[in-house]
Amino acid sequence: MTLTIVVLALTLLAATWAVMTGGLIRAVLGLAATSILLTILMFMLGAGLAAVFELSVCAGLITVVFISSISMTQIAAKSDSAKWARGHLRHYWPLPLILVATGAIVAFFCLKLPIELPPPAESVDAKGMLWESRQTDLLGQALALFAGVFGVIVLFKEKEK
């Protein structure tokens, strides 16, 4: 339990750092760190499949997407980023206080909240679940990927003038 709380606190810290840090690349690295910590949390809860997806896709792929976006927009960013890094902290200092306050409010209202759980279901493993009962979602995933490919083609193609 204490390990859980430590990792949760680290996750929140990584995310806060991602938000509050001045440089854009550092923010993206903070996001990746948050993903890795999230993976650990999911493993601890016993959700291995989800954890692996989170690690490879979010910590991996999305970080690559962000960093390539940042590098492709680097030209103007150089002039702005120095300005931003300096003034950044000024806007963001209330954040840690807000976060602690939020956590306290949630704890106050929810810790004693009685919750009734549903009756236990037959245990299936995640792979079985995904392939057998949620095929509609798999079809949806395929369509979403199709859409993503179209998006990349339409949005990243050089405009032919």
């Binding site: 996001l31 959700a47 979010c58 030209i75």
Partner: protein, 107 residues
Amino acid sequence: MPPMDALVVMKTYWIFIVPLAVAGIYCLVATRNFIRVLIGLEIMTKAVTLLIVVSGYASGRLALAQALVVTLIVVEVVVISVAAGIVQGIFHLNDSLDIRKSRNMKG
């Protein structure tokens, strides 16, 4: 695992998930940079992902929760990639990532 224990674990998670989401919202609202907007959205997505997993844990439906999370991750990658594409397009037009330079202020 006795049910009482799982609920306490879940509520502990809640105490950290809600601030995580708030951090994402704050990032979204307080920034002038398009890419930070996307980072804020991503942080919030992570909070919700964790929420789904922990709900599945507490109610004994981990298999369902994992199936949902896997699909969720795939769909959100597509959304973020398209978003990055749009941001790049805006950058090519305005030569800046400053949201104040685009005509419509986020509101």
